[in-house]
């Protein structure tokens, strides 16, 4: 049995109130105030990652004439998908359906009330459902916003929004369902009950793929979409001939720092409880980010002669990406090794690999999130091993750690990473193609030269 990160909203309150329970039945679990308070905080931290965090991180890296277009895209994508999450996203991701997608039972948040609760990772511990749906909303809304770095500075605003609706619906929601949807630990009372609960769990959950906070669902998923987008939209005019230097690395540092802090909401919040696993996830997230920052700085100084600030913050983000699927499952030394490897491999992702691919992935979404996500997914299978300081996986039927087979776990992790690459790649390609043959993907050459701030939004970021 896997100790995965998702859990199906279980309507325990409703269940326990149905007639037929004998007198003396256990009282319905009520949410713990500490858990609830932490999840409110964690959700706010992820909201902070989106508009100020990601917006400024990306915005600083584009030219001054496109600053507002990046800020605008992150803000509007987040808000548009937030609405769609309430309309159909939550239902399709987190209700019973098949192994690939949920159903329509909670369309328009039907049946969700202030009293309904969802399972966590501990038996008998629950969270208010509205809060769980909010926490998951922030993931569903920030992940598509990550993609815009691949085709920044040249895409039509309308094309971005249409793509995001298609990709959210056909790639994010199915991936979230496949990886995170399960019946919750309370369903695992016996081997038969576990087998029955498995019938409605997600495809990758049943494969045993571990993804604590979204390495496959968030980072590989978005990284691949950005690479496909960069390829389909084509390079910026003047790519590799004109200077496209970042206009404000100070903004980039401010944004990256907000992401760094917000990431604790993302990773530690994914424990869903303010408890022991949250403590582990917190420490691992912290040391992995530190290790990756040091690694990128050292390797850049060795290979390029000078350690750059942009390199150091890229290292921090790379470390946070790599530890995301592993943060509640590995030990601190495993996290440090993962961080170091993340810094080095993502450095290659934005240098050697980028030259090999020959695609203008403008802000290196694939090089950092795609490559870091794949590395993190695979290394989770290695360092989750109890022999290497990890927690292993939990057997909810026996209520004890299950035997850990690293080979089998690596196969499961490869299923997770491979499915995300192929699924997101195919959905993205079809979505971009559809937009290309209907309204078109790119702005005119004249508009691109003028900058998207003026040509698409009618305003300028700076008046000096």
């Amino acid at each position: 049995m896997n100790r995965l990160l998702a859990f199906a909203p279980v309507l325990l309150a409703a269940l326990f109130s149905t007639p037929g329970w004998a007198d003396g039945a256990p009282p319905a679990p009520v949410p713990n105030k500490g858990d609830t308070a932490w999840l409110i905080t964690a959700t706010l931290l992820v909201v902070m990652m989106a508009t100020p965090g990601l917006g400024l991180f990306y915005g600083g890296m584009v030219r001054a004439k496109n600053m507002l277009s990046v800020l605008m895209q992150t803000l509007v994508i987040f808000c548009l998908l937030g609405v769609l999450w309430a309309v159909y996203g939550y239902s399709l991701a987190f209700t019973d359906g098949n192994a690939f997608i949920g159903g329509f039972d909670k369309l328009f948040m039907k049946g969700v009330t202030p009293e309904t609760v969802v399972a966590t990772f501990s038996k008998g511990v629950v969270l208010p459902e509205y809060l769980f749906a909010s926490f998951e909303l922030t993931f569903a809304a920030i992940t598509p916003a990550l993609i815009i770095g691949g085709f920044a500075e040249r895409i039509k605003f309308s094309a971005v929004l249409i793509f995001m609706v298609l990709w959210f619906t056909f790639s994010y929601i199915p991936m979230a369902h496949m990886v995170w949807y399960w019946a919750g630990p309370d369903a695992f009372t016996s081997a038969e009950a576990a087998a029955k609960a498995g019938e409605f769990a997600g495809f990758l959950f049943n494969k045993g793929a571990l993804d604590f906070a979204g390495g496959t669902v968030v980072h590989i998923n978005a990284g691949v979409a950005a690479l496909v987008g960069a390829y389909m939209v084509g390079p910026r005019i003047g790519y590799r001939r004109e200077s496209m230097a970042p206009h404000s690395l100070t903004m980039t540092l401010v944004g990256a720092s907000l992401l760094f802090v917000g990431w604790f909401g993302f990773n530690v919040g994914s424990a869903l409880e303010a408890g022991a696993t949250a403590g582990l996830a917190f420490f691992n997230t912290l040391v992995a980010a530190c290790a990756a920052t040091v690694a990128w700085t050292v390797i850049e100084a060795l290979f390029k002669g000078k350690p750059s600030m942009l390199g150091a913050v890229s290292g921090a983000i790379a470390g946070l990406v790599v530890i995301t699927p592993a943060c509640g499952l590995v030990g601190p030394m495993g996290a440090i090794i993962m961080g170091f490897l993340g810094g080095i491999v993502c450095y290659w992702g934005v240098n050697g690999l980028k030259r090999m691919l020959g695609v203008d992935d403008s802000l290196d979404v694939f090089g950092v999130h795609g490559v870091g996500g794949i590395l993190g997914a695979l290394l989770t299978g290695v360092f989750a091993s109890p022999e290497l300081g990890g927690t292993g996986v939990w057997d909810y039927v026996a209520n004890a750690p299950a035997a850990y087979d690293m080979g089998a776990q690596l196969v499961a992790q490869s299923w997770g990473a491979g499915t995300a690459v192929v699924w997101s790649g195919v959905v993205s390609w079809i979505a971009f193609k559809l937009i290309d043959v209907t309204i078109g993907l790119r702005v005119s050459e004249e508009d691109e030269r003028e900058g998207l701030d003026l040509s698409a939004h009618g305003e300028s970021a700076y008046h000096v």
Partner: protein, 112 residues
């Protein structure tokens, strides 16, 4: 009347202003400019992207002077702006055909 246009290193601006003041130059106009001469540019590296920056930031100092202070003004700039390293800049001198002080309408030498 002469028009002096000097391209100098930005951090030398204050010294040049004080030196020109000392020889009796009453006013200047300063512009931030970019350019290149014999001094080479530099390379900037942003992750995998490398950009060669050919145009370096310089300051252009311009002043209208009387013929009799021309030589001392040129000498003042030369001395104040020099570091001895490549990229110190250049001084250009033009004949000035006419000058008018807008407030009073004075023209010619009286206007500068």
């Amino acid at each position: 009347m002469k028009w002096i246009s000097a391209i100098i290193k930005p951090f030398k601006l204050d010294e040049v202003r004080m030196a020109l003041n000392a020889v009796g130059v009453q006013g200047l106009t300063v512009t931030d400019v970019k350019g290149f001469g014999r001094q080479k540019g530099h390379t900037e590296l942003y992750r995998g992207a490398e950009y060669v920056v050919d145009f370096l930031p310089k300051v252009k100092v311009e002043a209208a002077v009387h013929d009799d202070v021309l030589d001392s003004a040129i000498a003042a700039i030369e001395q104040a702006a020099a570091t001895g390293k490549i990229g110190d800049g250049k001084i250009f001198v033009f004949d000035l055909a006419r000058a008018v002080r807008i407030r009073t309408g004075e023209s010619g030498a009286a206007a500068i």
